[in-house]
């Protein structure tokens, strides 16, 4: 063991109560940081998860038709005519789809047609959104299979998978037939193969998922799609990517971030309050470590004087105290990591939802522990700087004389 580490560890051991105090302080600090992060990360992840449970990360659609002035004769009134509310399809969508698939950062692409309609069974009817999709592509955007509450995820020929709430309102169960009529009067019957709960009321009571081809026929858009839905790797980079995609394709690209602006503001304010709390925790811990180390420098000034009289250099004395700070940070991050993880687990187990999942989901990962440890060690080191300077500045002649 090198000289400085050896002396540092002995000094810490000698300081018993004081050392225990700063170890405890650093541990509690790390525990708070870990606990808070686990809780807020968990909360945010579950919020985002819930939101994105029924949403694509990026949506591409054809631009709205521009309102164009209609001029009938030179001196006639200029009339501005808005085109009728008509579903617009994406030009050459297969090519766009292939382009998207080759775009780095995009992990899945799913084409779909969507339009308004009416679902009826017997005398009951509800207004719905018909969504024609390719199931194996769609499930990579929205994980319907894992969110089925009845039946199975299958869309072959004239089959449909619908929201749980819609099924209840229409009195439909798996195996029943449902009649879907669109605005311009086209109609078709579908066998209900599955019911889903995507976590959003609106979706659960309105979505009717049908094969892409059936959707195209119903909505009178044979061969066309109205939207391309994308999943991306960098969730919070979705908006930036959407803007780039929009420029490249001339299509309208909206990310989940613009569609859920309020959620994003909430996430940001959560994050900033968490950084604030963590900042003050770090400051408090650093001050604690620094003041205890300063006291120990005063207590050990005679020993430091002897070390210097024996030929220990100023940088060596500095390092003895810096190492003490780093050791405090290291021990704090180990103990605090355990405490924080334990606390977070305990907290999560306190309240659970009816389905057994925690009401306060927590998210603990290696990165969090590594970050917290790095912060703790750097904090320990920095808080030891002032005590270390003080120790290394001691004049051995004065110290020995005053013994």
């Amino acid at each position: 063991m090198p000289f400085e580490l050896f002396v540092a560890l002995r000094f810490l051991r000698e300081g018993r109560a004081q050392t225990a105090l700063i170890f405890a302080g650093a541990s509690v600090g790390v525990a708070v940081i870990i606990f808070l992060s686990a809780l807020i990360d968990g909360l945010q992840a579950s919020l985002v998860d819930k939101t994105l449970g029924s949403q694509a990360h990026i949506l591409l659609r054809a631009p709205d038709e521009a309102a164009r002035p209609l001029v009938s004769s030179p001196d006639a009134l200029v009339q501005v005519v808005r085109p009728a509310q008509r579903l617009r399809t994406i030009d050459q969508w297969q090519q766009v789809l292939r382009l998207m698939e080759r775009t780095p950062g995009v992990t899945a692409v799913s084409p779909s047609v969507s339009g308004a309609g009416l679902a009826s069974r017997g005398t009951a009817s509800r207004s719905i959104v018909v969504r024609g999709v390719e199931p194996e592509r769609f499930e990579r955007i929205i994980d319907v299979p894992s969110k089925l509450v009845a039946g199975q995820w299958r869309l072959l020929g004239a089959e449909a998978v619908i929201g749980q709430k819609l099924a209840r309102e229409l009195g439909v169960v798996v195996g029943d037939t449902l009649r879907v009529t669109t605005a311009d009067g086209r109609a078709d019957s579908f066998l209900v193969t599955g019911l889903f709960d995507l976590g959003t009321q609106e979706v659960n009571e309105r979505w009717v998922l049908v094969p892409l081809r059936s959707g195209q026929t119903l909505l009178d858009l044979v061969g066309g799609v109205t939207t391309l839905e994308l999943r991306v790797t960098d969730l919070f980079g979705a908006q930036a990517l959407a803007e780039r995609l929009s420029q490249r394709t001339g299509l309208v690209a909206e990310s989940w971030m613009t569609l859920n602006a309020q959620l994003l503001v909430a996430l940001q304010s959560q994050s900033s309050s968490r950084y604030m709390i963590q900042f003050f925790v770090i400051i408090a811990v650093a001050l604690g470590i620094a003041s205890v180390l300063v006291v120990s420098v005063v207590q050990k000034s005679r020993e430091i004087g002897i070390l210097k009289a024996m030929g220990t250099t100023t940088p060596q004395v500095m390092r003895v105290f810096l190492i003490q700070g780093a050791v405090v940070g290291l021990v704090g991050s180990l103990l605090g990591g355990l405490m924080g993880a334990g606390l977070a687990r305990f907290f999560a187990s306190l309240a659970t939802n009816p389905d057994g999942s925690p009401t306060f989901p927590i998210q603990l990962d290696a990165k969090l522990f590594l970050t917290a440890s790095a912060v703790a060690i750097v904090t320990g080191l920095l808080s030891a700087v002032a005590p270390a300077r003080r120790a290394s500045g001691l004049d051995p002649a004065v110290v020995i004389r005053e013994a």
Binding site: M1, P2, F3, F6, R10, F11, R13, E14, R302, E303, G305, I306, L307, K308, A309, M310, G311, T312, T313, T314, P315, Q316, D395, P396, A397, I400, R401, A403
Partner: protein
């Protein structure tokens, strides 16, 4: 060719204070040859400790030169002084000044450890030898608080010898011990001096101990007022 003296002071003066300047040492010239065993005596406040600290490179003179083994120490920075101190000087203080967190053996190894950075087997062996020399081989693993005052002072002596210093400076090494123990510790220093021809400069208030040294330097009011060599007694 005559070897360089272990220590040479040329016109060393020490003043304290900025506004009210008190001159504690006046124009001191002093030479110690290798193997000398010298006592530094004088009334309290006469400047003995100040002189010893200057010789020990713990303090700088206001003017004058300190040469250790012929090397001028003016112009050396703190760390160069620290290294020179580590290699050429050993200190023994009145209050032993052992480090309480370390065992006797570790205390004795400390100067070598500080100098080389990492412990090695040679260091350990040497420290054990020194402890044996001061009669404390059995107490190698003991902490200072587990030892008597005399034992602690003997550990401090072993520590001062670790780096085989050219000059050992002792400031009232027996001042804190009872008469019997004091005589034993003094005997030990004398023995090491004879055996290894190591140079000693010892501050003492005890005239009987001073009488047993080869040379007695007396300081009064910051000036050397007498410097007598005693005829060498046979050991």
């Amino acid at each position: 060719m005559k070897p360089e003296p272990v220590l040479r002071l040329v016109g060393v003066t020490k003043e304290y204070g900025e506004e009210v300047v008190t001159r504690v040492l006046h124009d001191i010239d002093l030479t110690l040859e290798q193997g000398e065993f010298a006592a530094l005596i004088g009334p309290s406040g006469s400047g003995k400790s100040t002189l010893l600290n200057i010789i020990g490179l713990l303090d700088r003179p206001t003017s004058g030169q300190v040469l250790l083994q012929g090397q001028d120490t003016r112009g050396l920075d703190e760390d160069a002084l620290a290294r020179l101190r580590a290699r050429t000087l050993g200190f023994i203080f009145q209050f032993h000044h052992l480090m309480p967190a370390f065992t006797a053996l570790e205390n004795v190894m400390m100067p070598a450890l500080a100098e080389r950075g990492w412990p090695d087997e040679r260091m350990r062996t040497r420290a054990l030898e020194l402890l044996a020399q001061v009669g404390l081989k059995e107490r190698a693993g003991a902490y200072p608080r587990q030892m008597s005052g005399g034992q602690q002072q003997r550990v401090a002596i072993a520590r001062a010898l670790t780096m085989s210093p050219a000059l050992v400076l002792a400031d009232e090494p027996t001042g804190n011990l009872d008469t019997g123990t004091s005589a034993q510790v003094f005997e030990l220093l004398r023995h090491i001096n004879r055996e290894q021809r190591m140079t000693f400069l010892i501050v003492t208030h005890d005239p009987r101990l001073a009488q047993q040294c080869d040379r007695i330097i007396e300081v009064v009011d910051g000036r050397i007022v007498s410097d007598r060599r005693e005829p060498r007694r046979s050991g």
